[in-house]
Point group: C2
Chain length 142, copies 2
Amino acid sequence: MNSEEAQIRERLDQWARALRAKDLDRLMAFYAPEVITFDMVPPLQVSGADNYRKHWSQWFESMSGPITHETRELVVAVGGDVAYAHQLSLVGGAQKGGNSSESWIRTTTGLRKMGGQWLITHEHVSVPFDMESGKADMELTP
Amino acid sequence: MNSEEAQIRERLDQWARALRAKDLDRLMAFYAPEVITFDMVPPLQVSGADNYRKHWSQWFESMSGPITHETRELVVAVGGDVAYAHQLSLVGGAQKGGNSSESWIRTTTGLRKMGGQWLITHEHVSVPFDMESGKADMELTP
């Protein structure tokens, strides 16, 4: 592993810590202002960190307690000032007025080194859907 | 646009041509043998081109006629021998014994230059799902 890959792994670990802490400001500091994201929920694409912040904010507000986030099978590829990473994550928590749940999701992250710092310039988060029911399959395991 | 980005855009265009032609061998030639993919349907992750080939094969066989694939909002980031790209695609066709449909999907592609050729080392394809119904939302537009 080269030092750039180590830096990115450290950044993604810090990102997950901010997520678990539901610390919106700290979380958003990992994103480039012009980030383009494909989120688990509509719309198809969100352009800009300000708009993406609203997605995180709404999710954090919908959760009554702590959020868990465990990473598995993280792969990082780095070339010069561009990188991508992908991982499976087990994400859990209790929704306000709802049940606790825990689901495996897939995340692909695009990064660029800007001003000496790796920033997230693209993020794609999803779960597969079942062809017969058309429903997102929240009960898959790796 | 530098020449590496132009090469990748040309490769992704050729990839889409192979998809529209339902030419499985030509399509699979764009993937690295060790590609890791997150497909629209289960499982969470598919490892290796041989396994991913089965996904494409099943999809091609489920379609009775031609497949359409139109790319919009393609972004390519290249650094050295690593790149990522993301796009929205309008994909359509007629299922055997079913109706014709057309849906917008999101694709993120990770690439590495190997032996002078850009190969796909990661692919993440998804649609968002509606929070209330839990169903994949196939009717979104950009």
